[in-house]
Structures are given as structure tokens and as C-alpha cells.
Amino acid sequence: MNLIEVVNCYKTYNNGVTAVADLNLEIEKGEFVFVIGASGSGKSTLIKMLYREERPSKGKVIVGGINVAKLRNSKVYKLRRKLGIVFQDFKLLPKLTVYENVAFALESLGMKETEIRPKVLKALDSVGLKEKIRSFPNQLSGGEQQRVCIARAIVNDPKLLICDEPTGNLDPKISKEIVDILDKINKKSGTTIIMATHDKEIVNKMKKRVILLENGVLAEDNMKGSYKAHESN
């Protein structure tokens, strides 16, 4: 069953730039997909449309049964609660502790404290940060902050995890750790993962489905793709 369907999707910004043109995509439940492409290829726009930070100008983007194009601003939270998002710049709340950052998303759902605590501890345990629950984000390294961000993204058991260049700010060793964590989540709980990245090594090593965007157009969709094939481009 398809978790994501992109049908004849166009995105043109107000300044006239077309970031995505006639894109068609299907992503099944449980897949691990890399989205690659040069800067300005439209991969960020695609990712942003998936969590409805951007709205397609034309066509359909359906995520978990919700047509993103028709979703009103005031209802966006309904989509976002079904997915987890991991950002390049982590986007943690600086005044909240690690525990509070992860618990925050559940609290705004009105969940009981007795339900929240085990979920948060489980999520932090799965990224190996159980001992740091009382730290504030600025007391953590970049890799640790990204792990908090992942814990926050998976705490509500989302069907889909969207990662927008999660390793962009991290060194190769830490990047590998982060991708291993994502891979583990994918295999263990069957969470679909879409990851936009520039990291050749990771893409080549993981041997997952690779979607290549060029100038907003789908250039290649390879089930066992690698970065090497595109290096000449």
C-alpha cells in the first residue's frame, strides 16, 4: 500500500521559479528512500510539501491519506502529528530540557503524564540518550542534538519519518551513527523513512532506493541506487 503518492505535482514560487515540475512518485509503507540532487534541484521543496510547509501549485501530494494541497493552515497539525520530522539544524527548543523537548509533542496532544513518560524514555533509549534527559540542548554535541531530534520525531510512533539533510551539519563518523539509528528504526518498527541528503558515502553504503531530482524533474528512481552513477552529472 502506498503511504505517499505524488501525482502530476508542480510547485512554482511567487517569484516565478518552478522548483518541482510534473513529478510523479509512489512510496510504499516501510520503505527507506534517499532523495538526492544538487542544490536547487527541488528536493527541499519536495520534502517541505510532504509536511505541508509548502503547498503544491498543481497536482496532488497525498501523505497517509491526506491531500496536502487541500489542507488548511489551521488543520496542518493533524498531518504533522502523523509524521516525524528531523531537521538539518535540529530545531530543538533551547529553553527546554531533552526530556521536555521530546515530551512536548505528546503534551500538546493532551496525553496523560503516565502515558508520556514511558514513551519519551523509550524514544530516548532507542537513540542512546537516556542519561541526558535533564540536559539542555546547548549542553549537547551536534550528534547528540540530532539524536534528540530523532527521538522527538519517533516518540509518537509515526508511520513516516521525514529527514531533511539530517547529517548536513555532522562529521562522517557521527553521520554514520545517525543513519544507523534511522535504519534501525526502519527495520524494527517498519517506519517509512524519506531522507534528503548530499552525503555520497552514506547513500552508497546503504544501498536503498534512491530518487534523483534534477531541475525539479525526476531524473532517476533506482531501487538499489547509489550516488556514483550520478557523479558524472
Partner: protein
Amino acid sequence: MKAIRILGRAIRDSFKSVFRNFSLSTAAIVCSSITLILVSVAMILSYNVENITKNLEHELTIVVYLNKETTEEQMNELKSSLENMENVDSYEYKSKDEWRLEMKNSSETLNSTLEYLEENPLLDSFIVRVKDVEHLKETSQEILKNDFVSSADYGEGMTENLISAFKVIEKVTIIVVIALILVTAFLISNTIKLTIFSRRNEIEIMRLVGASNISIRLPFIFEGLILGFLGGLIPVIFTIYGYVLLYDHFNGYVFSQLIELVEPFNFTIYISMILLGMGCIIGMFGSYRAVRKYLKI
């Protein structure tokens, strides 16, 4: 149940955030305090001026002297016509003997003069208080229409001039109070807006992790309420202690017995409630406005 939990968390988070953003909170509280103190001073001044004017107006009366031959019937006629007059607030009868007694007590010379006279030369009278001092003249003329009325005097001169001067001051202070309230509302709500502006990332992140608009907005609104309330506390202390000190210092009167200050209680309590209410409402409104700007609705 869910709504109560969300509300409870909003209150908890707002307190946390006030403490964790300590310097910004302090700035907002100090700014609110200073402006509210100004409002408090203006309100105290305005209310006192109003009170003084009222007291002065109360002092102003029409003294109606009756002719010597006035009969009981005519007196009753005057009473009922006074009762029917719109501008008449109250009246009291003062007989010539009462006048005589009062005059005797007031000075030795008058005492001996009056002793000398066998018959009381004074006239029976009515002392009339009016509702509106502006129409004093018309009222006295109307009373004079009764032919058994000898005269209807009122203090033409000093007191009236004083009253009209105070009326102008009263109007000016009311305008100042209103202007200050507007300026304060703008200043406080802007300061609180700035403290939230510095945290627009937080709002963006809350949106990204799927918080609904209401659960993002509530803690900020409570935060505005807390900041406004704390900003109102210092002016409240200033108002109560400051005014009581001032009142005691002057023994309740400024310059003369004519200018009487309003008693501190419950006057300062009312002012305090207004200050706190203003702080809370403006604080809440300021943060509501600020969050609205960063929420895509």
C-alpha cells in the same frame, strides 16, 4: 479531561518560561510597572480633583429669605415648589431664631448688638442646595418669582470661579488619564510582543511538531497575563503605601480645609484593582497579538 490537561500544561509552561527567560521577563515587568505608576498617579490626581470640585459644589447654596409677613400657607407653598424644581437637591428651613443664635456665637459685637434689640430683626429662611451649580442663577431667579420671598442669594464670585477652575482641571486630568492608559496599553503590549518576537523560533518548532494553534497560543497568553500581573504589583504597592503616606503627611487636607483629599480606603483598593486588571488584560492582549503574527492561521 484532555482540555483541562492542555490548560494545566499551558499554565505550567508559562510560569517556566517566565523564569527561564528571566532578563526579558524583567524588562517587560519593569516597563509595565513604570507606565502603570504614571497611570496610578494620574488617576489619583484626577479623582481627587473631582472630589474637591464636588465638595466645593456642595458648599455652594442659595439662601432664600422670606418676608416678615409670610404665612404658614405660603411657606408650605414654597416647600412644594422647591420640591418640584428639577435642580433642587435638598433644602432645609432655618428660622430667624437659629440665625440669631448663630450670629451671637460668632462675634461679641454682634452678640451685644442683638442683645440690645428686643425684637429679632432677622428673617426666616430656607437653605437650598442645587444639583447643578451651572444653573444656580436660573434656580434662584425662579425662587424669587414667589412674591413673599424677600431675596435669594448665592455666593456670586470666589467659590464659583474656583469651581469652574477645578472643572477645567478635572477635564484636563481625565484626558491625561485616558491618554496615559492608551500609551501604557501600547507600551506594555509592545514590550510583551518583543519578548515573544525573540522566541518566534519556538512557535515555528511547535507548529512543526504538530502542536495545534490553541496549544501553542495558550502558554504565551498566560505568560502575558503573568508578566502583566507582576508588572501591576509594584504600582499597587506604590499606590497604597504612597497614598497613605501622602494622606497622613497632609492630615487629609491640602493648603486649607477647603481642599480635602479622598480617604485612602477603599479608594486605593479600587485603583489597585484597576491597575492589576489593566496589566493582566494588556499583557494577555499583547501576547495574543504577537503569537498571532507568527502562527499561520
